[in-house]
């Protein structure tokens, strides 16, 4: 076999380019398009709600600091994982996650179900210096987050953009985003003070407070801490 049939391809630039491009589009089309239309790809979970304004700011700080480089947010459906972390992750839980934060490496533990596991003050101390709580930890210290003032100037705009992408924020929520974030931050600050954390001056909140609000929200929507169910149960899925 002389493979003469291939010669014309080797002499025609456009033909080779177009054919190679068509070939590489096939796999993408098959893998990426159907999930948007197939029933059952993302079953609705009633408890899943959009992030609050403060939690959203916390999530963006989580992204800014690259927490996802060391912490996954995806519990796999193994007994050893559900025992360690909680119920396995479900597609319906991520519908407001832009971007997704499943991660690819667990240098630290999975955080998909960390919400409600520790008190706010634990997170505060842990951020300031992880080795204060666990001497063998290799997590960086994020003390600077407890000093940096929380910037809420873009919060409303963020909700607005997410609304345009389909997250069901109301116009009122967008209008009052910064105030709502401030109120929730006051609550987190109060719980921290109650545990004896020195927050410095009142009224001005640090970035750590938003991050803690986000961490405490993680994995809570399915209500598994309130109603402990079988470790691998789907919970209130409909």
């Amino acid at each position: 076999m002389s493979w003469e049939w291939h010669r014309p391809l080797e002499a025609k630039q456009l033909l080779l380019a177009v054919l190679s491009f068509v070939l590489v589009t096939v796999g993408g089309l098959v893998l990426l398009i159907p999930p948007y239309f197939l029933q059952g790809t993302i079953p609705t979970i009633v408890g899943v709600k959009p992030y609050s304004a403060l939690e959203l700011e916390g999530r963006d700080l989580y992204i800014r600091e690259g927490c996802n480089t060391c912490h996954s947010q995806q519990v796999r459906p193994f007994k050893t994982e559900t025992v360690r972390y909680g119920p396995f992750s479900m597609a319906g839980e991520g519908i407001y996650d832009r971007p997704f934060l499943w991660g690819s490496r667990r240098t630290g533990p999975d955080l998909a179900r960390v919400g409600g596991k520790y008190p706010d003050s634990w997170h505060w101390l842990h951020l300031v210096n992880p080795r204060q709580i666990e001497p063998r930890s290799n997590m960086p210290a994020f003390a600077f987050l407890t000093q940096a003032p929380l910037d809420l100037s873009l919060t409303g705009r963020k909700l607005e953009v997410l609304q345009s992408l389909g997250t069901p924020y109301t116009d009122a929520e967008i209008q009052g985003a910064a105030e709502a974030a401030q109120r929730q931050a006051d609550e987190v600050a109060a719980s921290l003070r109650k545990d004896g954390v020195d927050l410095g001056q009142a009224g001005v909140h640090s970035e750590a407070i938003a991050l803690i609000a986000y961490l405490q929200r993680l994995g809570r929507d399915i209500g598994w801490r309130e109603r402990p169910i079988g470790t691998a149960s789907l919970g209130p899925v409909q």
């Binding site: 590489v24 050893t80 960086p140 389909g166």
Partner: protein
């Protein structure tokens, strides 16, 4: 090194744009050293967390700087240099536009600098190898279009009708990366440095790993195969082993690669059928990958005596071998049973680096060692230093990859270990403490690899000092008249 002893580049200086190739080669070397240094710092931080410095230099922020610098700085730099050098010779024509070449060079270097600064400041989308925020994404697209027009325009004007296999790989790279990059990065801006992905949750994960896996496929594989197909036969002085094998493995590789992305999402909420497709195509990928490896290695058949004395050929040979190993390991890790153990562990990091250090960097070094003496019309300053570089780098890879395998399997097994009563045998922090020693050894392997690259920098500087980038006038006329290849 027989060829390097004659300054053949001199005749072609007038005909071809060699200045831009020189600039790309030097930029690649610079970004290589920067990217590897940042990688070493990241490795040290994992072993000793006190080395995390303030807001700008902690692991979470520098890890993407490391990956972006070595993938888009070093690797693409070598690819730009090598493909611009190769395309002019394979087509026997000067690059399409000198202006576009300069624009490409400065846009790309500017983007790498801006990327490093913006990532240090925390402007990240978090999507792996696509961390840059939207203004830089726009700049990347402009830069890529510049490269595409310049490259395709050069081929369109070619004086040699048949296109050699290296050109197929580079063309496919340009088109596929354009598609992947644009679709994965679609986002709505909130401000200058913040945007939200138009995809959410499962869909975002799906498209991210379609992109992420094919960044490996079409930045770290196909253009490097192009380098191998051009520079290995040049260096060894004989044609590629089999043209048929080139045809077979080119078409099957680019077709199959695209499907394998979901193997990054096994046991995730991604639909099962997609995960299974990812696994199936990953297994299929062994054949075209090994087709490329064999075509390279068999080109050396009968010339292994040259490999003994030539460090450049050694780098190609070991590079191809690592390519073969990691393209076997990858499909194995795509099997559900293996993935359940390896996913989320250091095994993945080891796997990536056996490909990135073993295949990409060694092939890249070999390409640069081939190019530099020819670009400056002289001989390599020291073959012995290049030989030392080869051995130091190879030892570094072994010391990097082996502890990562051990640490990955260790952590994977500890995570799943249970007591007789079904409770977990280890807390998470016990698994962190258990792999500390491997993090230390890995940093040593990385340091060795980096010191090899520094040997190369010294060698290149001395080579440039003894060479010249200008061509004596009388030779210009004869070269132009000869229309040399």
């Amino acid at each position: 090194m027989a060829e390097a002893t004659t300054p053949i580049g001199r005749e072609t200086e007038a005909l071809y744009d060699m200045a831009v190739v020189r600039s790309f080669a030097l930029s690649a070397l610079l970004w290589g050293v920067v990217g590897m240094s940042v990688g070493l710092l990241a490795a040290l931080q994992l072993a000793w967390p006190e080395l995390n410095l303030g807001p700008w230099l902690h692991f979470g922020r520098i890890r993407p700087i490391h990956t972006n610098a070595v993938i888009f700085g070093f690797t693409l730099g070598v690819v730009f240099a090598g493909s611009y050098y190769g395309v002019q010779r394979l087509c026997r024509v000067r690059l399409f536009s000198d202006a576009l070449s300069r624009l490409h060079l400065w846009l790309w270097n500017g983007i790498i600098v801006a990327a490093a600064v913006s990532l240090m400041l925390g402007h990240s989308t978090s999507k792996e190898y696509a961390e840059l925020e939207w203004p830089l994404d726009v700049a990347v697209v402009v830069m890529w279009v510049t490269y595409a027009v310049n490259f395709f325009g050069t081929i369109a004007r070619r004086r040699e009708k048949p296109m050699y296999v290296a050109l197929w790989f580079w063309m496919s790279t340009i088109l596929t990366i354009a598609m992947l990059y644009v679709f994965n990065n679609l986002a709505v801006p909130v401000s200058l440095w913040k945007s939200y992905s138009i995809y959410a949750g499962v869909h975002d994960a799906n498209i991210q790993w379609w992109y992420g896996h094919n960044a490996v496929g079409f930045v770290l594989t196909t253009p490097i195969l192009g380098l191998m197909y051009y520079f290995l036969p040049k260096q060894i002085g004989r044609p590629i082993y089999s043209h048929r094998l080139s045809i077979l493995h080119f078409w099957s590789l680019i077709f199959i690669y695209i499907w394998a992305g979901p193997h990054h999402l096994i046991y995730s909420p991604l639909p099962d059928w997609a995960q299974s497709l990812g696994t199936a195509f990953s297994i299929m990928l062994i054949l075209p990958s090994w087709g490329g490896m064999l075509n390279g290695l068999l080109t050396m058949r009968g010339s292994w005596d040259k490999v003994r004395t030539d460090p450049i050929l050694k780098m190609f040979a070991v590079g191809l071998t690592f390519y073969g190993m990691s393209t076997f390991e990858g499909p194995m890790m795509a099997l559900k049973t293996v993935n359940s153990l390896s996913h989320f562990t250091n095994w993945t990091i080891g796997h990536v680096h056996s490909g990135a250090l073993g295949w990409v960097a060694l092939t890249g070094f070999a390409t640069l060692y081939y190019l530099v003496p020819r670009l400056w019309h002289t001989q390599l300053y020291s073959l012995r230093l290049a030989e030392a570089h080869f051995w130091v780098a190879t030892l570094g890879i072994v010391l990097y990859v082996t502890p990562m395998w051990i640490s990955g399997v260790t952590q994977g097994l500890m995570w799943r270990a249970v007591n007789p009563d079904g409770s977990l045998a280890y807390t998470f922090i016990e698994t962190v403490a258990a792999i500390h020693i491997y993090d230390v050894i890995r940093a040593g392997g990385g340091a060795l690899f980096l010191s090899g690259a520094l040997l190369m920098v010294y060698n290149v500087i001395r080579t440039i000092q003894q060479g010249t980038s200008t061509v004596p006038a009388p030779q210009l006329a004869t070269a132009a008249a000869a229309g040399g290849r």
